[in-house]
Subunit: 286 residues, 2 copies
């Protein structure tokens, strides 16, 4: 059976689940279903023509689903997996979209019988805003998609999820261990969010700063407008890695501070040349 | 005399001086001259039609200049002012483009006789790249322009520089004391650059990170590709303010670290809600 004819069930029509629905429908998937706590998002998705049918009750579609996507908040993932595990058929597949993998993948896996394949995944194309209204298939185009297989994950299952990712427009599909994924993501995603939040919260707030900001400040604080519920879960769920990333960063900032304090032009120049070379290399790679 | 008929001398055809030449010529200024250490940039500017004439010797145009723009590196500004002070006529005006004001404005002022008006200014539209090849009149459109008058600065002189700024396309022209300017800029410009440098330099550099970066990391490190010579001057020249800004930031980051360490979801949520509200307000103001 062509994968585009399979029954795909998206659980959670938030910004990511909604974007999956849009991107899959756009790619020619014909049987995309959605389950969501509130009926309003279901109706919107139906009106937009990005799902075939939807319900507030997972039992309506879980039994016939070939592939289910867990697109709820991290703390809701375990309960969601429990329901899918009870209902889904033998040979079906579950994947997810969670931004941290080690902790939650274990929780999800524990709820799924061995006869359901499980392929943990992280589509790296977030949005600061929450909800279906901010969903968009465009954000996936060319973005990174990471698969973090467990021992139980089958090669065929991983290949199917890779196919979904490519059909949705992701540019790079990579495989990492859950532990390595979480260490990388602490540095490339959670640490930048922590810095943006700390930067904007360290303002004197005398009401004048906004008149004098330039591009650099605007770029660095864009992600300070953050989904508080989601991100506290991501921060605490990746605690050890994030603490380490913050400590590495703090050490580097302390070196800059020391060089400024001592008026050490040579050290500053060295750090700036290093950062310039690294940034140029990073972007080139992309 | 219409200001667009006056003799404008730009000293230093780097990215900012070059952008001034382009923006003024585009605005209909007919007598824009330039002095630059190397002949190559003069020839390029002539070929581009953005200056009327140019020279490597400041003596060729300083005596007839009505307005001179000091657009050299901060550490070259004092020497540049000394030459202009010796050569420029009574009633002429000097302005500059330096990104920190208190220290360098005093140095420049000390070199200019009282019969030359001096209007310190900071066009807030930098480029990460250096040199005339990256100059562009476009970067000024809608940007902030700050005038930091000294006691000796005449109202008429400040008004003339404001006119130049508006003609070049700047959106907001504001007046600040040099001390206030430097405190604001430490927070809105130098601190973000320090964070970007520290962030990219804290990478483990195992060669994999680049494959997994998302928009947030890309945004936050854009300014880590930095003009090392210029920025070490700006950092050290604004030492006290920058140290204070780094300390405020470090304190905020430490609070996030502590909340993560203690798995304190409530505190994290509070910090994220605060940062979101501040960011939304900041952008609205702009």
């Amino acid at each position: 059976m062509d994968i585009r004819d399979k029954n795909i069930l998206i659980v959670g029509l938030g910004v990511l689940g909604g974007s999956y629905a849009m991107a899959l429908t756009e790619a020619g998937y014909k049987n995309v279903y959605a389950v969501n706590r509130s009926r309003a998002s279901i109706d919107k998705a139906l009106a937009a023509g990005v799902i075939k049918a939807g319900s507030t009750d997972v039992r309506d579609f879980a039994e016939t689903a070939d592939i289910a996507v867990i697109a709820v908040y991290p703390t809701g993932a375990e309960e969601c997996a429990r329901e899918l595990g009870r209902l889904m058929k033998k040979g079906s597949l579950v994947t997810d979209v969670l931004g941290i993998k080690r902790y939650y993948s274990q929780k999800i896996a524990a709820q799924l019988p061995e006869y359901i394949d499980y392929v943990p995944a992280h589509p790296m194309a977030g949005r600061e805003k929450r909800g279906l209204d901010f969903a968009s298939a465009q954000v996936f185009k060319g973005a990174n998609f990471i698969i973090t297989p467990l021992e139980r994950t089958s090669k065929e299952g991983a290949a199917q999820v890779e196919r979904l990712a490519r059909d949705m427009g992701f540019g790079n599909v990579r495989t990492l261990t859950p532990a390595r994924h979480d260490a990388v993501i602490a540095y490339t995603s959670q640490l930048p969010h922590a810095l943006a939040v700390a930067l904007i919260n360290s303002d004197e707030e005398d009401g004048q700063t906004g008149e004098f900001i330039g591009d650099s400040f605007r770029d660095l604080t864009r992600i300070a407008e953050i989904n508080a519920d989601l991100w506290q879960e991501l921060f605490i769920g990746n605690r050890e890695n994030l603490l380490q990333a913050i400590d590495c960063f703090t050490d580097q900032l302390a070196r800059i501070r020391e060089a400024v304090d001592k008026k050490d032009a040579q050290s500053l120049r060295g750090m700036f040349e290093k950062s310039s070379a690294r940034r140029a290399k990073l972007i080139k790679k992309k």
